[in-house]
């Protein structure tokens, strides 16, 4: 069925609130979900994978380890609800130190990593996101690498393979060797060693030429996504989605509406 971009903007935040998130989180994560649907046709899937919660608040992410440039964050599922916050953390750390490395553990949710890359690159940073889906989603998502340059226009993506570890080792400062080791799997390519982990390397513009998000690595990436064109197309033409998926979304969103009661009708005016 045909669905308009404006329709999604209106419906998705309500649906996310009914997954148990606050008003603020719903708006933040609606951007991630809508972006993912417009660019990768995978936004509805993000919502479908999230279970409905009756809890008024989900747990906020927890910082497990932090030495300034390197941060380990534990995230309760679903990741899309925290994508904006994690991207902003990456931006803020890279703004302070020139480069930042964030390891996200919990639920990988690789489908939302392109949005994280986009949000960071839109703010004027370069970013490489390497993720390995948890066992639950391994078959579907596998290992994903996403790279984006400053500007938020293009996202490069590869699934099931990744950049050679050599490239990471050559490009990153030596102090990152442990993280590189962690990111490299036995086959000599960079993924993330542990299931359900994401490694986010964010780089301030002036340092980009020294880092792995250069042409040598990108040449192996299989998918070049023109974000601007994809978003523009979705806005102008709308989207075609299976009607049963849209029905789940609108059904979820409708739950925000309060049942009628005696005084209800008089409370509008």
């Amino acid at each position: 069925m045909h669905v308009s971009y404006g329709e999604l903007v209106r419906v998705v935040p309500d649906a996310i609130r009914m997954l148990g998130f606050t008003y603020s989180q719903a708006d933040d994560s609606a951007e991630a979900v809508i972006w993912t649907e417009c660019v990768l046709s995978a936004g509805y899937e993000l919502l479908n994978n999230a279970s409905v919660s009756n809890e008024p608040f989900r747990k906020a992410p927890i910082i497990l380890d932090d030495d300034g440039g390197k941060v380990v964050v534990s995230v309760d599922r679903p990741l899309f609800a925290y994508a904006a916050r994690i991207a902003d953390l990456a931006i803020s750390r890279a703004a302070a130190a020139g480069i930042s490395l964030i390891r996200v553990i919990g639920e990988a949710g690789a489908n939302v990593t392109p949005y994280i890359a986009y949000r960071v690159s839109r703010a004027g940073y370069g970013i490489a996101v390497i993720s390995t889906a948890s066992q639950e989603y391994r078959a579907h998502e596998g290992r994903t690498l996403v790279v984006a340059y400053p500007g938020g226009r293009i996202v490069h993506m590869a699934r099931g393979q990744s950049i050679p570890c050599d490239a990471l080792s050559e490009a990153l400062p030596k102090s990152y060797s442990n993280e590189i080791k962690r990111a490299c799997t036995d086959d000599g390519f960079a993924g993330v060693g542990t299931d359900g982990e994401i490694l986010i390397i964010t780089v301030a513009k002036q340092h980009i030429r020294d880092l792995p998000i250069g042409a040598r690595s990108l040449c192996r990436l299989e998918q070049r996504i023109d974000v601007v064109a994809q978003l523009q197309n979705a806005v102008i033409e709308g989207l075609e989605v299976p009607s049963e998926r849209h029905a789940i979304l609108t059904g979820l969103a409708a739950k925000i509406r309060v049942e009628n009661f005696d005084r209800s009708r008089t409370q509008a005016g």
Binding site: M1, H2, V3, S4, Y5, G6, E7, L8, V9, R10, R17, T22, Y23, S24, Q25, D27, D28, P56, F57, A60, P61, I63, V73, A81, Y82, A84, R85, I86, D88, L89, I91, S92, R93, A95, A96, V235, I236, E237, G238, A254, K255, I256, R257, V258, E259, N260, F261, R263, S264, R265, Q267, A268, G269
Partner: protein, 604 residues
């Protein structure tokens, strides 16, 4: 002072938005920038609910700027088909030609059951339903749309060629009165018409921008005739007004062929389109603080520029103001008094306008013999109006002052478009200390509100299962609090402030929000308020004493509603486009000076 800098603050902390540059002032020949900025009214004045309630439509209002564009581009609205019976049941099709594009407006006119329908969103019984398409549409498409819109109201679907659906109802008393009189070959009774709101048809909503699968407004390119904010929402109102005239005249002709009258052009021009709005408008105002700023800043800047004029007075503008004041007096003389507490009576405003007009005319006479008020003519006019002590009078005079300076209001239209492009952003690199400092500077008014006071948290806003209609419940009585819509700015600022107090000053906002993701909206509002003025209603929206009509009337005036008559403190009726030129004038490019018409008096 460099007004292009985001960091510019006036002594009272009012920020100047970054889209206002020194170049803008240079382009418009305004040299005394400091004086203009000093003359901007404070937020504690403008953003008080009681002031917002009183603000009137100006040439910057969306209905006015739409009609201005229609006239400038000589839009053509042509009726292609009217196929209705004696009761007005049937179909009408209009073709619209605007700025090189064409549109089709298809109307399905249902049988009226003879009762007044308030037009609430939960209803299914509407007298008129219509769809606006880009381009031409064939019969099969019209039939399909009728099935979806008329046959499956609230459940139907449309597609990208459709810009939106719209609903309306007959104002039964006035509709029937006019049909009966025209059928008898007579014009309707003027006194009877004046006793109502001045309309035949009452708008019951525009459902576009993606609703039911219609095209998103963002999809329209910058040169599109409806690219200006809200013009697409307002245009159907203009079309409904035209549809109303066509239906009553055709019904009369079918009932009395050869002897029925048509409405006089003056009566038609005087009539507008009715509108009713409820509390959802307040939620919309709160949701988009950047738009709130956009609704206010260009108007306030226009006023500040006018009040900052030094040197010889533009007597042409002064004469124009005096003429507009006289017109407004006649307009208010025909407006019914409101019985709602807090709404100033039309007769009181009229009386004040008479005094302001006499004073303005006297000073104009003195100008001709070389005497001029010490602080300028315009300031003398507004000071005199303020002295009379009615807020609505002051705001009506301010609106007329802007109308008397078309070159200044025209300059604001471009600025307004820039203001409306400001989007919600969040700077994750800002530290907690700076955020605290902005709150202390910009939200002291909110922190001073005692949330524990009796009634301070009485209400919550929610959407009903009845098609999502916005409603307001009482926390201690009504269900649904856990699903409340966000309107509690004061509460969110208090909560944010309390959370920030527990943070180290050098913590980045990004890290704070990672731990407190529920605060991102509040942080975003605060950061916006650092660089933009007039972003917040300075009141506690959920307080027992907050009157939703204050926000409703403000937003309706911003849209272009000329007269508003609250039915209660949370439901406002009024009339759009009263006096707007008819399609015949618009296609000739004439009729721009139309606001505040009188049924009895034809003003030049």
């Amino acid at each position: 002072m460099n007004p292009g800098s985001k960091q510019i603050l006036r002594s009272d902390g009012l920020p100047i938005p970054p889209y206002l540059s020194q170049g803008w002032f240079d382009t418009h020949g305004i040299s005394d920038v400091d004086l203009v900025l000093a003359n901007l009214r404070s937020e504690s004045c403008v953003m008080r609910p009681a002031r917002l309630r009183a603000i009137k439509a100006t040439p910057l209002s969306f209905a006015r700027s739409l009609v201005k564009r229609m006239i400038a581009e000589k839009w053509r609205i042509e009726r292609r088909l009217i196929d209705i019976d004696r009761d007005g049941v049937g179909k009408l099709i209009y073709r619209i030609f605007a700025a090189g594009r064409d549109f089709t407006f298809v109307v399905f006119s249902r049988r009226s059951d003879g009762t007044e329908h308030p037009g609430r969103i939960f209803e299914s019984n509407f007298d008129l339903l219509a769809a606006l398409f880009e381009g031409d549409v064939d019969d099969s498409r019209i039939e399909h749309e009728q099935q979806q819109l008329d046959g499956r109201l609230w459940q139907g679907r449309t597609d990208n060629s459709c810009l939106g659906w719209t609903l309306a109802n007959r104002s039964v008393r006035f509709f029937n009165h006019i049909v009966e009189h025209l059928t008898q070959g007579r014009q309707p009774d003027k006194e009877f018409l004046k006793s109502g709101g001045g309309y035949i048809i009452r708008n019951a909503g525009w459902y576009g921008n993606g609703r039911f699968g219609s095209r998103s407004w963002k999809a329209l390119g910058p040169r599109h005739p409806f690219s200006y904010p809200y013009h697409l929402d307002i245009f159907p109102l203009y079309l409904w007004r035209t549809v109303g005239f066509d239906i009553v005249e055709t019904m009369a002709r079918l009932r009395n062929p050869g002897a029925a009258a048509v409405l006089s052009a003056h009566t038609k021009a005087w009539m507008g389109i009715g509108n009713s709005s409820g509390i959802g408008m307040v939620a919309a105002l709160v949701r988009w603080p950047a738009w709130m700023s956009a609704y206010n800043f260009p108007r306030e800047l226009a006023l500040a520029i006018i009040l900052s004029q030094r040197g010889p007075v533009d007597t042409g503008a002064a004469e124009s103001l005096c003429r507009l004041l006289r017109r407004a007096i006649d307009y208010y003389a025909e407006q019914p008094d409101s019985l709602i507490k807090g709404v100033e009576r039309a007769s009181v405003i009229k009386s004040g306008l008479e005094q302001v007009a006499m004073n303005a005319e006297r000073m104009l006479g003195e100008l001709s013999v070389g005497r001029s008020p010490k602080f300028g003519y315009w300031r003398a006019v507004t000071d005199f109006a303020d002295m009379l002590g009615t807020v609505e009078l002051s705001e009506q005079v301010n609106a007329l002052l802007i109308q008397a300076h078309p070159e200044i209001s025209d300059a604001m239209l471009d600025l307004f478009q820039q203001a409306m492009k400001v989007e919600r952003t969040l700077d994750p690199t800002m530290d907690v200390a700076e955020l605290r400092s902005i709150i202390a500077r910009r939200y002291r008014w909110a922190l001073e509100i005692d949330q524990l006071a009796s009634g301070a948290r009485k209400y919550f806003w929610y959407r009903s299962e009845e098609n999502g209609e916005n409603r307001r419940g009482e926390r201690v009585i009504d269900p649904g609090e856990e699903r409340e819509s966000f309107v509690d700015v004061v509460g969110s600022i208090h909560a944010l402030s309390a959370d920030l107090a527990r943070q180290n000053s050098n913590v980045a906002v990004a890290e704070f929000l990672l731990r407190h993701p529920e605060m991102s909206h509040a942080v975003s509002r605060v950061q916006l308020a650092a660089g933009f003025p007039y972003t917040e209603i300075r009141g506690n929206i959920i307080d027992a004493n907050f009157l939703p009509m204050d926000g409703i009337r403000f937003l309706l005036s911003t849209m272009g509603l000329e007269s508003s008559h609250p039915n209660s403190n949370q439901w406002v009726r009024g009339t759009f486009l009263q006096g707007a030129p008819l399609p015949e004038a618009i296609k000739q490019g004439i009729g721009d000076d139309w606001a505040l018409p009188s049924l009895e008096t034809q003003h030049s």
